[in-house]
Symmetry: C2
Subunit: 433 residues, 2 copies
């Protein structure tokens, strides 16, 4: 569907009298118990003692989770295959084969020591929508593609691969944590890195992409709103940083002869925080990974490997923050006799959702009797990649206490069901438009 | 040997004319090639890519290294057994069984990413001394005990166990890094934790203890002195610290709603450095271990586990430094909305070497034509535990560039041989006195 068509669809849904109260499918509802049951089943894979999961993309736990997902997708009437980039695509042919596909889905990988809702809610709700539509005997006009994007948490690897934006250099680069090159990881989940050079989806090749996701912030929960309609996803710039000093004995090396990498890295982390807080606005900045070598009580740290990440809706703000952080870092290294290297990771450019799709989501939610709120996403999502090739929309459901990327992450079962229903009604409206 | 006897021995060695030029054994020399060859062989166990070793006490690499050591000790005529605390003791009976044993040795465990000389030089030189004396047909008057102390780098575990100072609580405590309780580790190397309650060596139960070790600092190397005669070992106070904040999503959590454990821990590490440098003296302070959870780029760190360690010859200075650090830490935690717990590790009290043994070492070195220097040890050693039950002496050999606890740690082959010869001549003088 072209952008113009989506606008027409939104207009139709909003204003044409015979769509209010609407056709029979307007009364269809997903099976909330089923999708919440799946959430619980999926949480077994990579389960950690705190009640969440560690299911890093391409890890054994991720492979096991994907292995569980495939038959669930097949039982929803989808033709399932792994694409060259390692994404799982579940397709259901449309009745009008000339129409471009409508995509909906999310991811199932997690951060280290993460929770059971980030990604999982959107992925399993998309499968639940397919399953319900199959049970209802719905005949979709557009091809429907339920998508499980690979390795979302580590840089939207799968959706970038879907767009043909993962380079040969990316494929050959070892992971900063595990040292395994990306190509080997993609191969591990059944992808085909050798075929990725010729694999891409161009702008205009899809009719739309809709992703349901937990908010991960606390706004919906605090304001008691059911559904967030996402206006845009913040841009993210990030770096893998190495601070190098000199490792030596902590007892025999006088204080004034040390080149302590930990002290320099500690000041750098504080400088990131100070710089980001040093101007008005909603920008955020975080040092989340911080690994000290050799890491023994009686050894002066010789090297620290860390991540720096900054986020804002304005890419100009991000560039200017980095200039400031870089200058502070250079001064810190001089002070400690240490050196540093900052390797930029792929930038996530700010992505706005499609205004027409926003309207359809809002109408779908209101048609279900749910309250909505237009809001930005502070977290990155695969949807920001898909926004570059077609109209994109995102649906948020509340995160209790705004907690995410933590075993304490929680979204109520009724909110999961609400989100899945909004997703289903949105896809039906987009398909019927 | 009682302290008084050692003093007499020193006096004898220095002043009685028939000991100058001395008996036949004064001309005996160790086999320098052999002990340097052993050093190379031992460096296989836990070898790391940088050319050093990671042979943490009780690790598999440590167990393999110990397995290699035992037959080398037996070939030196020693009766070898593992004591309840996991130390390897190689005994050679004396001709005067009423005399108390003379102990000499060191350790073979290393820090994370350590080198091939720290501990190994002293242990293998002690074995080399036993081997040479066997080959020479020397009949020692005192029982000779060659000692390989277990797990030196992680708190002098073995020598504390030898003194009966490892408590049931110590045995039941999980390691901060691996979570394995000490009793299980001691059992792994053939020790008998159940027997440790009744295993101890009281003050006065040994005739003396001498340890050869690399300096680990750069004084001997910089001043071109062959042998350091150690006057005392600095006291060490250390803590296992946990800083607790709240882990949350790095994109959706506003800067002013964070409880970032990494930022608080970074300020704490800087406060330790600032406090230690804030007064005159040779005291040192280090945060060497620093582990951030969960440690992902896009997650605000919720917990940091770290070590704080301070060293000085004055225990009063250490106590006063800690009071200052504690107060700074409390303020930092309030600032970040975080909390902290600091669990004190066993204190190593400052230990002075025995003046008479110092004199014997100095005479032994000068008798070999070597230059000497009286100096403190900034590093902790098992010798500080042994000093509590008998006269203790330590011999230092140069560390090139003062580098240690690093794969770059290096001591020249001739300095290793010099050290072993000084150790042999010292033990002979102590035995004959």
């Amino acid at each position: 569907m072209h952008r113009r068509d989506v606008v027409k669809a939104a207009a139709a849904a909003s204003f044409i009298p015979w769509l209010q109260p609407g056709p029979a499918w307007a009364a269809w509802r997903v099976n909330g118990d089923r999708v919440n049951g799946w959430l619980k089943e999926l949480s077994r894979f990579g389960a950690n003692p705190e009640g969440g999961v560690t299911r890093i993309g391409f890890s054994d736990a991720d492979v096991e989770g994907r292995g569980w997902l495939v038959p669930v997708m097949r039982a929803a009437g989808l033709e399932v295959a792994v694409d060259p980039a390692g994404n799982i695509l579940g397709k259901r042919a449309g009745t009008a084969p000339a129409l471009k596909p409508l995509l909906f889905g999310s991811h199932i990988d997690s951060v280290l020591n993460g929770g059971n809702y980030d990604g999982d809610v959107g992925t399993l709700s998309a499968v639940e929508v397919a399953r319900t539509l199959m049970e209802k005997g719905y005949r979709n006009r557009h091809p429907f593609w339920v998508t499980m994007w690979a390795d979302e948490e580590n840089g939207l690897t799968g959706s970038r691969g879907f767009l043909g934006e993962v380079s040969a250099a990316d494929l050959a680069r070892p992971g900063p944590r595990d040292g395994i090159v990306l190509a080997d990881k993609i191969r591990k989940v059944g992808g085909d890195p050798a075929a990725m050079a010729g694999y891409r989806h161009e702008p205009g090749s899809i009719a739309g992409y809709v992703e349901l996701h937990i908010e991960q912030g606390g706004i919906l929960d605090r304001t008691h709103v059911n559904i967030g309609v996402v206006e845009g996803i913040v841009g993210i710039m990030s770096w893998d940083v190495t601070v190098t000093g000199f490792s030596n004995h902590a007892g025999t090396t006088p204080m004034d002869e040390r080149k302590n990498a930990l002290l320099a890295a500690a000041e750098l982390a504080l400088a990131v925080d100070r710089t980001v807080k040093g101007r008005p606005g909603r920008q955020v900045g975080t040092v989340g990974r911080f690994q000290v070598k050799p890491g023994a009580q009686n050894v002066i740290p010789g090297e620290v490997s860390l991540s720096i990440e900054i986020r804002d809706l304005s890419m100009e703000t991000l560039a200017s923050l980095w200039t400031e952080i870089k200058s502070a870092g250079d001064q810190i290294m001089t002070k400690y006799g240490t050196s540093w290297v900052a390797a930029a990771r792929p930038t996530n450019v700010t992505a706005l959702s499609d205004p027409a799709v926003r309207g359809v989501i809002d109408q779908a939610a209101k048609g279900l009797g749910l309250t909505t709120r237009l809001m930005p996403s502070g977290a990155g999502h695969d949807a920001q990649d898909l926004a570059r090739i077609g109209p994109m929309g995102m649906i948020f459901v509340p995160s209790v206490g705004g907690i995410s990327h933590s075993p304490k992450e929680f979204t109520r079962a009724e909110d999961v069901a609400n989100g899945a229903n909004v997703l289903m009604q949105t896809m039906l409206r987009l398909d019927q438009a």
